[in-house]
C-alpha cells in the first residue's frame, strides 16, 4: 500500500505571532517551525500502518520553499521513506490542494492534519478529495484498515461518528488517532540520505488574495476579586461585563 502524508511547516504552538512590512508579512524572527501538530498525528498513524503492513511505503509531501526542508527531514527521521517538496509558498487552501492533488494520484491513502495551525482553513482534505473524485473524511480520531475498507471515527459537535469508506481515501487527522513519534538517532541519520524530490508547482490562477494581517486588540488588565466575595464577581459579570 502507498500512503501519502501531507505536512505543513508552521510556527510552534507556543510562538508569539507578529507581522512586519506594514502587516503584510509574518515575522519569522525567533520563531521555531515544526510539523503541523495535526499533520504529526497523521504521520504517526501512517508509520504505524507501515509497521503493521509489510510492503507499505510512506511518502511525505510539503508545499513550501527551501526553508521547510529541515521540517521535511524530521518527517523522514520519524520513519517516512521519501519526500516531495513542491517549491512554492502555500498561499491558500485551493493552491495547496491543487498541488497535493497533482501528486496524490496512485496513492491508496492520503493523510494530513485536520487543518494547518497557521491559516486554520480546515478544508484542504475536502478539496483534494473533490479534485481526485475520492471520499474525504475529517477530523478523524481513529482509522483502521480492513482490506480495502477504512473504518474511521470522526469527531462531530458534541460527540463522534463512525464512518466507513473504501480506498482510495483522503483523511484529515487529529488526536487520538496515534501517539506522536519522536525520531531516534538511527532515524535522524538515515533521514539525511532518504530521497527528497523538489518539484515546481502547477500554475494556477489565484482565487483569493491575502491583503494584510492584523493582531487582535490587546486585553485590559485582569480585575482580581477576593475568594470571600464571590457575589461581587456575579454582580460585575452582570452589570459591568454584561455577560449574564
Amino acid at each position: 500500500m502507498k500512503i501519502l502524508v501531507c505536512i505543513s511547516h508552521v510556527p510552534d504552538t507556543t510562538s508569539k505571532i507578529n507581522f512586519i512590512d506594514n502587516g503584510t508579512k509574518f515575522d519569522t524572527n525567533g520563531v521555531q517551525f515544526i510539523i503541523g501538530p495535526y499533520d504529526d498525528y497523521a504521520l504517526a498513524r501512517a508509520i504505524e500502518l507501515k509497521e503493521a503492513n509489510a510492503g507499505t511505503t510512506v511518502t511525505v509531501l510539503n508545499v513550501g520553499l527551501a526553508e521547510t526542508e529541515p521540517t521535511i527531514r524530521k518527517a523522514l527521521a520519524i520513519g517516512a521513506d521519501d519526500a516531495i517538496r513542491v517549491n512554492a509558498e502555500p498561499t491558500d487552501s485551493l493552491f495547496v490542494a491543487t498541488q497535493i492533488a497533482e501528486h496524490a494520484k496512485g496513492y491508496d491513502l492520503v493523510l494530513m492534519g485536520r487543518e494547518s495551525i497557521d491559516y486554520n482553513s480546515g478544508v484542504v482534505h475536502a478539496m483534494v478529495g473533490e479534485m481526485l473524485g475520492i471520499p474525504s473524511v475529517s477530523p478523524v480520531m481513529k482509522l483502521d484498515l480492513e482490506g480495502t475498507t477504512v473504518k474511521m471515527q470522526r469527531e462531530i459537535e458534541g460527540g463522534k461518528e463512525s464512518v466507513e469508506a473504501s480506498l482510495p481515501l483522503v483523511a484529515g487527522c487529529q488526536e487520538p488517532i496515534a501517539e506522536w513519534k519522536i525520531p531516534n538517532m538511527r532515524g535522524i541519520m538515515s533521514a539525511r540520505t532518504k530521497p527528497l524530490k523538489v518539484v515546481e508547482p502547477k500554475t494556477t490562477e489565484a482565487s483569493v488574495k491575502t491583503q494584510k494581517f492584523e493582531l487582535p486588540a490587546p486585553k485590559g488588565a485582569v480585575k482580581m476579586i477576593s475568594a470571600d466575595n464571590v457575589a461581587e464577581l456575579v454582580t460585575r459579570l452582570k452589570t459591568e461585563a454584561k455577560v449574564l
Partner: protein
C-alpha cells in the same frame, strides 16, 4: 440575485450558528434563500423566515438526515445554479465546512472559512487565523464565493419576515454517498460546546473526574456547556469532545469560566475569542490570569459552590 444560506439542522432543529449565517447573509443586503436538508420540524420553517430568509428550499430526503457530506455538496452546488446565487454562506461545522469546500471546487468559487465579519467593499473578508491569535484580510476574487463563518460573525436576530417554503429535490447517485455512517454517539440534552454562550471548563486543579459534579452543577445553573483542558481529556477524566484548546474545540462564548486551569498558551488559543474570561485558580501566578478579565485566587472546591449559590441568588 439571492445569497444562498445553508441551514444545518440537528435532530430536526435549526442550529443556532445557522441563524447567525442567515443574519450574515441578510446584512449583506441581497435577498436570502435558505436551503435545509433532511427531516425538519415544521415550526422551524417559520423561524427561518423570521431570521431573514425570503425563501426556503427544503430537500426532504431522509438520506440527508445523516451528514452525508458529498451529497450535501452536490445539492448545494445545484441549488446555487438553480437560484442563480453567486454567494453561499454557512456556519463553520464538521458538516458545513467540508461540504462548502467541495462546492467551491465544483463551482470554481473563491472560498474562505473562519470568517468573523461582514465583507468589506471589494469582497474582502476578515478571517481568524493562527488559532485566534491573528486575523487576515482576504479578497475573494472569483465571481462565485463560498463563505463559512465563525461563531459570532453576525448576531442572530429576528427581522420579522416570513419565508416561502419550496420543496426542492436533486437527483443523488451512489457516488454522493461515498462514505457510510455506521453509528453516532452524541451527548444528549447537553448544550453543544462550540455553540454555547457560557462555558465552564475544568483543569487538573479539579483533582479527578469524581469531582466534576460541582462543576456540572455550576454549568447547569448558568445554562452553560462544560469543557476541559487537554491534560484532563488525555487522562480520560472527560471525553475528548470537551477538550478546549489549540488541538481541541475552539470556543467563542460570551463568558468563559476556567477553573483549575493554569492557562498554557495552547489552551488560550482555544478560548481567545471569548468575550469575557473568568479564571479561578489556587495559584496566584497561574499564567491564565494575564489573559483573564476577572480573576479569583482560591480553591476550586471552595469557590465553585459559592459561585453557584451567588448565581442562584441573583436569579
Amino acid at each position: 440575485m439571492a445569497t444562498l444560506v445553508f441551514v444545518e439542522v440537528s435532530d430536526g432543529k435549526v442550529r443556532k450558528t445557522s441563524l447567525e449565517a442567515l443574519a450574515y447573509a441578510h446584512q449583506m443586503g441581497s435577498g436570502v434563500t435558505a436551503i435545509v436538508m433532511g427531516t425538519v420540524s415544521a415550526s422551524e420553517f417559520e423561524t427561518l423566515g423570521k431570521y431573514g430568509a425570503q425563501k426556503v428550499l427544503h430537500v426532504a430526503d431522509a438520506r440527508l438526515d445523516h451528514p452525508a457530506i458529498q451529497a450535501y455538496a452536490t445539492v448545494l452546488t445545484k441549488a446555487m445554479q438553480d437560484e442563480n446565487a453567486d454567494v453561499l454562506v454557512l456556519a463553520n461545522s464538521s458538516l458545513g465546512t467540508p461540504a462548502a469546500a467541495k462546492v467551491a471546487i465544483k463551482t470554481n468559487a473563491s472560498f474562505a472559512s473562519n470568517v468573523v465579519e461582514l465583507p468589506a467593499p471589494g469582497f474582502v473578508v476578515k478571517r481568524s487565523i493562527y488559532t485566534g491569535k491573528a486575523f487576515s484580510f482576504v479578497e475573494l476574487k472569483n465571481q462565485k464565493k463560498v463563505i463559512a463563518i465563525k461563531k459570532n460573525a453576525a448576531e442572530a436576530k429576528e427581522v420579522g419576515g416570513s419565508a416561502q417554503i419550496v420543496a426542492y429535490s436533486v437527483a443523488l447517485s451512489d457516488s454522493d454517498f461515498n462514505t457510510k455512517i455506521t453509528g453516532t454517539e452524541k451527548a444528549t440534552g447537553d448544550i453543544l460546546l462550540p455553540e454555547a454562550e457560557i462555558v465552564v471548563s475544568g483543569g487538573r486543579g479539579m483533582k479527578g473526574p469524581e469531582h466534576w459534579g460541582i462543576l456540572e452543577e455550576l454549568a447547569k445553573t448558568l445554562r452553560a456547556a462544560t469543557g476541559c483542558s487537554k491534560p484532563v481529556s488525555d487522562m480520560h477524566w472527560r471525553p475528548h469532545h470537551e477538550h478546549v484548546g489549540q488541538t481541541g474545540v475552539k470556543v467563542a462564548p460570551q463568558l468563559y469560566i476556567a477553573i483549575g486551569i493554569s492557562g498554557a498558551i495552547q489552551h488560550l488559543a482555544g478560548v481567545n475569542s471569548s468575550k469575557c474570561i473568568v479564571v479561578i485558580n489556587k495559584d496566584a501566578d497561574a499564567p491564565f490570569f494575564k489573559a483573564a478579565d476577572y480573576g479569583i485566587v482560591g480553591d476550586a472546591f471552595d469557590v465553585i459552590p459559592k459561585l453557584t449559590e451567588a448565581i442562584k441568588a441573583m436569579k
